[in-house]
Amino acid sequence: MTMNIGLIGAGAIAQQAYLPLLKGFPEIKLRAIVEPDERITTDLSDKFSCSYIGSDLEAALKHVDAVIICVPNFLHYPIAKLCLEMGKHIICEKPITTNVRDAEALLRMAEASSLTLTVAHVRRFHPAAKKIKEIITTGTLGALTGFDFREGTVFSWPAVTGFVFDKEKAGGGVFMDIGVHLLDLLFWWLDDEVTSFQYADDYLGGLEATAEVNMTFRRGVTGHVKLTRLAVLKNFYTFFFEKGVLSWNPFTPRRIYIRKDSKQTVSLKTEKGAPVRELLLDFSAAIRDKRPPFIKGEEALQSLRFIEACYASRQAIPMIWVNGVGSL
């Protein structure tokens, strides 16, 4: 059975991740596109034969069973709420909302209406991410004892409106934007609860561009996360096991590097993977089979809860190059 889907928001993420895929997707038919920018809708009208392309969300929803929400973060909640009220299943770009309260409300609505709500934490669909989960779960390298995740690039997302740098519209800085991906993976991999943490960032009254957090989990695993939009970091997620060390670079996701018992590092090449395609397929199958999606809304909520808790307890990173800031 083919699912009729609508794309809500046709900005950078929609154009890069979803629209190229939706052109020839047998299981999912793109029926509607909602976008306020007329230049974009005019351009897309030439490329896609949809029942509706324009700026009226309610008009578009009449043609679809489900939607992909790709609008700026602060609009996730009101648009998802309307879509749920209209009985539509949802793939929501990350973060699910800009605050826990709104996310909880959406999850309640989805559950009450038996609608599928998943969040595009697509990194989980990388075959390597699944392999790491398997290694942790099966104890191939012994028990996991710790981790050190570093992810940093010089921000260059082609943000047209600048909403990512608007506190109200984005909901947070790098920890909300990239951290939400990383935390989703981490919580899924470890399947454990954080019992204590220390969070610090370079917030100076706006949105943090660098963030660090030390975490301890219930089963005793401790770890450190460092994220930035200001420089290229080592960009490795490193796991410390009883019998070895595993490293994974989220930007070259096919390879996993494993050093066992202090011997030479070996590289494990996983399948290429197509995370966004996998997300769409899983979403479609979850609706068809009436089962939960691979990425559940509750899991997205867990990451968001942690981010909110971190923001509420933020300290300054030791920026000794900025006089008077940072004393950790």
Binding site: G152, V160, G173, G205, V232, L233, I320, W321, N323
Partner: protein
């Protein structure tokens, strides 16, 4: 005027100097600047602050008008750095005229214009002051800044209180050229073979430059004047780059083997090249000369890396620049503004902490 009570507009605020101005204004004066932003993708650093960003550019008068708002102080740091020289000229010159006209209409009390010591041309004399004649040259950046300074003088004649600043080698956190660029250069073996380099560098730490700019707002004697803002000392270019080698843990006593470049090479390529460098040179060098000449034109970044890995370093066409013994005097700024910058070593301490924190330095925990 009292900077603490000023309302500030910054052009080029997503850049290195503009970003630091916005940061110090907030940290030192609690001034949330209004900032003109041409490219949001570059705004991560700026967005940490409670500034207001106005999308636009120097050629869009409406955006300048909107960005300026009720500001009475302008730090003008924007300049054209595109690949199109004619567009750059328009941004620099027409853009400044746009800004100046609006500033006059709005009764702006101070426009601080960021110029450069490149206005003295590619071969400045050994002692340079604000009185030293500027010189148009083939360097379009320096020449364009000369023309913008002329526009500043015209604006002053029309009653706008302008101060022209000519910074020297500005280094420190986020400096794309003289910290990130210089550090990557030493890592990539770009500061080797320097036994015949003995010129002088005039470094100024970014925070000192910004303090100097603030003094130009606070001091009425600055209006209508031009100031060179450098550090308190001239050091050799070797000392400047060797300071970065120290940060990187590279040995700067050897100068011609290219070993430093190799030491810092990628984990995969480095060990292979280290063990095979002599063989590589003997076998491939003669055949590679033509290819290298082609690479220099078609893939300059790769060519530089290859050059460094094979024992390159300071290039012939750079030697004139790095052998100049020019000293830029800051006496006028000291005497008229009370400008008192820190020594190079002090600035390098903070710069080192920044380089380590942001993992530019290899092999740090």
């Amino acid at each position: 005027m009292n900077l603490g009570a000023a309302r500030v507009f910054i052009t080029g605020a997503t850049g290195f100097i503009g970003g630091c101005i916005a940061e110090r204004l907030w940290l030192d004066y609690k001034i949330p600047a209004r900032c003109l932003v041409q490219n949001y993708a570059a705004a991560s650093r700026l967005a940490r602050l409670p500034v207001t960003m106005y999308p636009g550019n120097m050629l869009d008068k409406n955006s300048l008008e909107q960005g300026l708002g009720e500001s009475n102080v302008i730090f003008h740091c924007a300049y054209g750095n595109s690949k199109d020289p004619s567009l750059n000229t328009r941004i620099n010159e027409e853009g400044l005229q746009n800004l100046g006209k609006i500033a006059i209409q709005h009764g702006v009390e101070r426009l601080i214009h960021l110029s450069t010591v490149a206005v003295y041309g590619p071969e400045p004399p050994e002692r340079v002051t604000e009185e030293t004649p500027v010189r148009l040259s083939e360097d379009e950046y320096g020449s364009s800044k000369i023309r913008t300074e002329a526009i500043c003088h015209d604006l002053m004649a029309r009653g706008l209180p302008v101060v022209i600043i000519r910074p020297t080698v500005v280094f420190g956190p986020f400096s794309p050229l003289w910290t990130i660029g210089a550090f990557k250069r030493v890592l990539n073996g770009g500061w080797e073979n320097t036994s015949d380099i003995d010129g002088l560098c005039n470094p100024v730490y970014i925070d000192d430059l910004v303090k100097g700019l603030f003094l130009c707002v606070e001091n009425e004697a600055a209006v209508g004047e031009t100031f060179i803002l450098s550090g308190p000392e001239s050091i050799s270019w070797n000392d400047f780059f060797n300071a970065y080698k120290d940060v990187a843990g590279l040995n700067h006593s050897s100068s011609s083997t290219g070993q430093n470049a190799l030491k810092s090479g990628s984990t995969l390529v480095g060990p292979f090249l280290r063990s095979n460098i002599r063989l590589l040179r003997r076998v491939i060098e003669p055949q590679m000369i033509d290819i290298y000449e082609w690479l220099k034109v078609s893939h300059p970044a790769f060519a530089r890396k290859l050059s460094a890995l094979l024992g390159g370093g300071v290039q012939e066409n750079e030697k004139k620049k790095y052998n100049q013994k020019t000293v830029y005097s800051i006496e006028k700024a000291r005497n008229n503004l009370g400008y008192s910058p820190r020594f190079f070593a002090a600035g390098m301490e903070d710069t080192t902490a920044w380089l380590i924190y942001y993992e530019y330095v290899p092999n740090q925990p």
